[in-house]
Each structure stands twice: as C-alpha cells, then as structure tokens.
Symmetry: D2
C-alpha cells in the first residue's frame, strides 16, 4: 500500500475548513499533518512535512498561501474565491518554474453540481428547447443563483457552437415575469421556498421526448468528496487546473 | 341491474365530442341514443328518448341547448365555455321550475387537474411558502396558463381566509423576471418546452418539509372520465353545479 | 388580544421535546410555563398554571401523564407512541367525565405528510392506476417505511369503498422484485440512497393524465407546526381525536 | 451550400419507416430519393442515386440490405434489431474492403435516452449510492424494461472499473419485492401506470447531495432527430459504429 498523502489545511477553523479537517481525518489514504487558523504561521506546514495543501481561507490571503505552497513544491487544492484572471495567470507563470507541481482551483467542489452543469451544457445542443429552474431557501438575496447563471451561460455557449437556434416560444400575451429571466437567451426561473436548501433542474425537450438533469444540495458535506478527489488527483495533474470538471472522467 | 343512462351528445363531431361519443359507447352503464352535429335539430333528442345530454358545442348555441334540455326535464353535463354569471343566474332560475333536474357546467373535466387544484388550495394554508410552476408546449400563446392563474387565485384566497401572510422572500438583487409573475401575491413560473403537453406543479414548503402536487395532462382522453362521472352523478344533484369538484368526494 | 396559552411540555429534554420547547418559546400566542424531564414531578404543572400539556415522553409513562392532565381539566397534545386501542378506549371513558377537555393523539405531526396521505387516499379512487414510491437514507432498517405501508392501506381501503378494481398490469416476465412489494394490492417501491432523509411519492394515472403527490421531510423541525396547530385547536375539540387530520380543514 | 444527402429508406411503410419518410422530407439538407416497402427490389436505390440508406426493416432482411448498400459504397444508418456479434463481425470485415463507407447500427435512436444512459454510467462512479426507477404504461409485458437493464449493467460496469463498492443498504426486514430487482448489484424498480409512455430515472446520492437524470419518451417522433443526426454524420465515420453515443460529442 502507498503511504498516505500528508495534508495541511489552511483556514481549518472556518465552516468549510472544519468539514475538511473531518473529511481528511476520515480518509484512510490521507494523514492530516497540519490544521492552521488565521493566526498560525504558514511556515509550520513545511516542518509538519506536508506534501499537499488545502486552502479554504479568504481572498486576501489565498494567493500568497498558494504561491508559498507552490514555491516549496507542494500541491494545492483551493476552494477560496477571488482567483481572477490576473491572479491565475501569475500563478501559472510561477508553476512553470515548478513543472511537477499541481494546483486545482475550484469554484465548486460539489461533484453532483459540477457533473450536472457539464452534462447540461453537452446535452443541450441536441434539443430544440432548454430552460432552467433553480430552487433555494427564501433567505437567499440574489435571483437567479450564480450557479444557475453560469450554467445558462455554458448552455448558451454550447448551443451557439453547435449552431442551434433559440428555444421556440409562441408566447404573445404574458404576465410580467412569467417566462423567467433571460440569460444569454436561456430562460431561467428562480423559486424560493422555506424548507429547501439549493437545487437546480435543467429541462431539455425535443419532439416526443424530454431530458431532465437535477441536482439537490443539502449541506456543505457535499463538497468533501470533491475536495478528497482533488487531493488524490492533483499530483498527477501538473500546472493549474481551473474547475473540478478538469479532474472528472467524462469522455465516452 | 339498473337500465343504462340514455345519453344524447350535442357537438358530437368536434374534437371533444368525438371523444365523448367513444367514451359513452364504451361505458357499459350508458346507451348513446343521439349524436348531433351543428346542423341537426335538437328536437330529435326527445324522440330518441334521451334522459341525459352532454353539451360540447360552442358558446353561441350552448345556452339555448341546455335551456331546451332543462325545459324537457333532461339532465345536462356541459363542457362548452362562455357560461358567464348572467347566463348561469338565468339558468338557475329556470331550474327552480324543474326541481328534479340537474346541470353540471365544468370549465375543466380532467379529474386530476380538478383534484390537484382543490388539494393545493386546501393545503397551502398550512405552509409558510407556496409557488407554482406550469409547463406547456412552446406553441401556447399565453403565459401563465389560465389554469395556473386560477389555481394561484384560489391559493391566495385560501391563505387569506386562514390569515397566512405572504411567502418569505429575501431577494434583493434579481434579474428581471427571475422570480416569476405575481398572481395575487403567489409567484407563478411558466416553462415552454418542445415535447411537453400541459403540466402544473404546486410547491409548498415549511420548516423541514415540502409538499408537491403535480398534474400531467397528455391528451383530451383525460377529460372523459370526468364527463362520465358527471353523467353518472348529475341526476342525483338537482339544480346547477359549477365545477366538477362539486361532484367529488373530497371531505375526510 | 387573547391571553397566551399556558403550555407545559413533558419530555422536554428529548430530541422532539427540545424542538417543542423552542417552538413554544417562539410562538407569540403561547407561554411556556413548565418544561419537565423524566425526573421532574408532574404535579408541578398545576402550580405552574398550565392549561395545555404536550406529552413527548415514552410509552411507559405517557398514559399516566395524559390521564393526570385530563383529570385536572388540562388539554393534551400527545406525540408519544404506544397508544393502542385499549389505552385509547380507557382514555375516552375518562374524557366523558371531563366533557370540556380535549386530547389529540397524533402518530405523525408533519402537516405535509398527513395532508399527502389524506389527499392520496381520496384521489386514488378516481384513477385507474396507483403506485407508491418511498425514498429514505440507507441506514433505515425496514422497507417499505411504516408511513408507506399505512398510506397504501388507506389507498386500498378508499378504492375498495369506491368499487375500483386493481391497477392494470400486463407483466408476464419479470425480474424478482422489479414490480415492488404488494400491500393490499397496491405496489410499493422502496429506494435507499445516501443523502436522502424521508420522502414519499404517490403516483396516480388514468387515460391521458397523471396526478403525483410528493412529500419530502428533512428534519424534526417539520413536526413543530403540527404541534402548535394541535395546541391552538385542542381546546375547541373536546374528547379524544386520533390523528392530526381530524384538526385539518380538508373538506371542499 | 452543399448539395443535399440523397437518402433511400428501406422499410418505408412500417411505423418507424413512415416517421423517417416524413423526417427526411422535412430536412432541408436531405432529399428522399427512394422509399421502399417489403416487396420492392433494393436494386432500385442505385438507379435512384442514393448515397445514404436508412434500414428500418426486419431482422430477416436487414443484414442483406446493409451488405448490399456497403458493397455499392452507400453509407447506412440501421435501426433494425437482430444485429448480433456474428453479424456485426462479418459486416466489419466487409467494411474493410470499402474503407470510405460508414455504417451506424443503433439499438436506440432517442438522443435523450442515449445521453441519459451515458451520463448515468459516467456519473455513478462518483456517488456512494445509485438506484434506478423505470416507469411505463401498464400494457408492457416485461419488467424491468430492456433499457433499464442495460443502463443498470453499464452503471455496474462503470462503478466496478472505478473500484466503487455496492450502494449502502441497512435493510433488515423487508416486504418481498420492496427493494426492487437486483441487476448486477444495482436496484431497479419498475412502475406501471395508465397514462404513462416510457420514462426512466437514475438517482445517485452522496453525503449531502443528489443527482437525478430523467428521460421521458412520449412517441416514436423522438427517434427521428437521432436518425437525422446519424445520416448527417455517417459519411465522416468510416467503418462500423455500434450505438448512437459513438456519434455524440460527449467529452469535456
């Protein structure tokens, strides 16, 4: 049996971080060698012998954390937001100096959500019609959700690339808002309901058939299989990978 | 065994009418004694010995057909539209002269749809949140559907009567239309998709639970059980009944 | 404004009990005057001035608790199991001596679940076909769930009373188990899936249409609206009521 | 603009064949040059100038039709059943003599169904639990459906290849059949309901999340986009392709 991955978690006391601590502790092929809070010095991960870093901190420190890790040849799995094009380009440059080191930056670690989005984008080019319904708890302040907007954008891009026209719609008279929001030509409906958490449904329809892809997310625990998959894969993917879908085996 | 009901169908050559002809012919407890088109004289239903009439004609002639039937003591089941308050009030008056005669006027004969609306209206008073999604083929010209608007109105009335406040919604920033149309305070979303026929879903949510009532309608055949139920029941319900729900056993 | 209900909770430290304590504390029309654990003396609820009792204890003590409450003219809402026919008959007798006192014993306080079962039982008499799918987390030891079995029994009874025959099924060759379990002639399918909690779907189908009633239960919080509804209603329903549906306004 | 494909349809008077005739006639990039019934001579497709053949005949003649087409350098899209390993091996051999000719043999032309199966097989390796529900009209004689069995087999193979263990299941007491049929370790449930046509749902669950892929098939029209896609692609895929998924762009 191979020796366990030696994992350091940065941001270990936050909500995601504490889930990650538990997940790594439960993984038989991993050893948690360091769990750092915001006041701990990152140098300690070297003494601890870490080979892999999970960064679940905040945008203000994530970049320097990851650059520190890469500079020392440690692989990194990053769930912190704020990694814009500039930061990613700069990191890619640094990685050329460490050609054996891998970094995964993932805006979304829920495997089901990543798969659902990838499948919907692929499949939608084969159907005349496509619409999207997202459903969330009523405390959410934005509508539609960021995931729904991104999914709709990917669907629109996929259909454009395949030369598929807009979904047919003969609506002549309509109450304001009935047909949903328009995101790059894709209709998106946002439902808010007490008792729900985070759910999304892509409906695709053609003559005589319908394909529906639905994802339900109930709690942060759903991100952990994606984090573990990232840790297990990152060393075999040198350079920067953006998006967990880059690690999934989705070809046929 | 009781003798079969003697049924005359008016508007027998239309789309609904021809379905009704087939349905009555297949019902072992009914006998089709007359099937009239628009050029046939209604007098002939008397010679044919009809005791029950199904009116599936057009608004311009439905009122005189039904009044003719009632005047001769025949029970009537009516699926034609256009029976406004004035016409119904006038018919109720005529029925007082024929106290043993029954008439059912039903805007919707699909049992599942009538049940779904009744259940949703009842149940929605017990949930903090309620929203409605209707889904139809893309050739439909209005959004939301008439059935969805009516369902939302009944839900709103039921919640108002029970003193339930509006569904919670913390949305601060929203793309135009994302949160659907507002029908008496109830959010209604209309999906248009090739391959669909007519579908409606009422979602109700409270802390920790959700109740969903969905109706799918695939073709006009779905109206026939309601028409037959009407024929079997109308003689036992003297006077005018508006809406098939009046014939359904829905109390507990 | 009327004065708040004075509520005593028995079994206040259990899982359901602590939810009930929180719920009553949050209800503006109720005052929590006593919260008793298993070692506290029930006499104290009299000194505390309680007019309503919630019993969420264990079968071994529930009966004497409720009889004590009734003997002192207190209304009781009971979620403890173990109230068989004998115990209920005996309680009913005691209640005849206290004609103004009400007791609600409810095997299930989730409003959505109670409504879903009632609606399914009513509606199923109007459809040719009916089947049931229940879906739970994979740690559940029995299949199908007790709620599913009870729902199927009520559906079977409703269909028998209405003279509806068995659901059509032309299956000639079948893998063992494919068509589900047979509960009084109703097919019941049990799904076990990581990530699920407790869910149930009744599917009813006729020519050209389908009616689906689904209930999703996510946590014990879903029982609290039912407990509060019970407390608000029990004083107006003297005698013993078995099942929360007796308090719901479900007629049309 | 490129000149239209010149298409000959064999089995043009059958149910699938007549749909195909209509579909090809409606396609602006195709020209129907021959539509043969069982009594017509296949030689006539040469005179008609066909470059593409659609075979929707019967197992007894499909092989010789396709071999005739290939021998004359015509591309073929085949929906007829009965193409076992032996026949396909023999055809592959013939195709080596015609290295520019393509043949597609597809057991299923419904794009949505093919996509749903491919996605489910791929995704199921990332989830702890997976089960399958298929739902059909009650006149179906086998349970589960052939498509459901094949999907379960592909899911089982995908999970085995990825080293995923069996779905967790703590069931100790169960009514016979409640947990469905066992197909290679995957639980499959078959629902039969009046009003349904052909539907399938793959449910995948992990800690805190669920992915559901559903396909609804309403009529044979749903096969035609797949047939047209086959015709448009077959010339660019020399040799034998088995299964429409070979023509779909499903990689990421």
């Amino acid at each position: 049996m191979t020796s366990p991955l030696k994992v350091a978690i940065l941001g270990a006391h936050g909500r995601m971080g504490s889930e990650a601590v538990a997940a790594v502790n439960n993984a038989v092929d991993m050893e948690l060698v360091a769990a750092l809070g915001s006041k701990d010095s990152i140098e300690s991960i070297l003494e601890a012998g870490a080979t892999h870093v999970v960064d679940l901190t905040v945008p203000a420190v994530s970049e320097q954390n990851v650059r520190f890790a890469v500079s020392h040849g440690l692989h990194a799995v990053v769930g912190t937001t704020g990694w814009d094009d500039t930061k990613r380009a700069s990191l890619t440059e640094l990685l050329t100096e460490h050609p054996e080191t891998g970094v995964l930056i993932a805006p979304n670690f829920a495997l089901g959500s990543v798969l659902a989005t990838a499948f919907a984008a692929k499949a939608s080019q084969y159907f005349e019609s496509v619409e999207l319904i997202e459903l969330h708890h009523p405390n959410k302040v934005d509508a539609p959700s960021g995931t729904a907007v991104r999914t709709a954008e990917l669907i629109a891009r996929s259909r454009a690339a395949a030369g598929v026209g807009p979904s047919p719609d003969a609506t002549e008279s309509s109450l304001d808002g009935a047909r949903g929001a328009d995101v790059d030509g894709i209709r998106v409906h946002a439902v808010r309901l007490r008792g729900l958490v985070a759910h999304q449904e892509v409906l695709m329809g053609g003559e005589g058939e319908q394909l529906t892809i639905r994802h339900d997310s109930y709690d942060r625990a759903s991100f952990m299989p994606g984090v573990l998959l990232g840790l297990r894969t990152v060393a075999s993917k040198p350079g920067l990978t953006y998006g967990l879908d880059g690690y999934l085996d989705l070809g046929l």
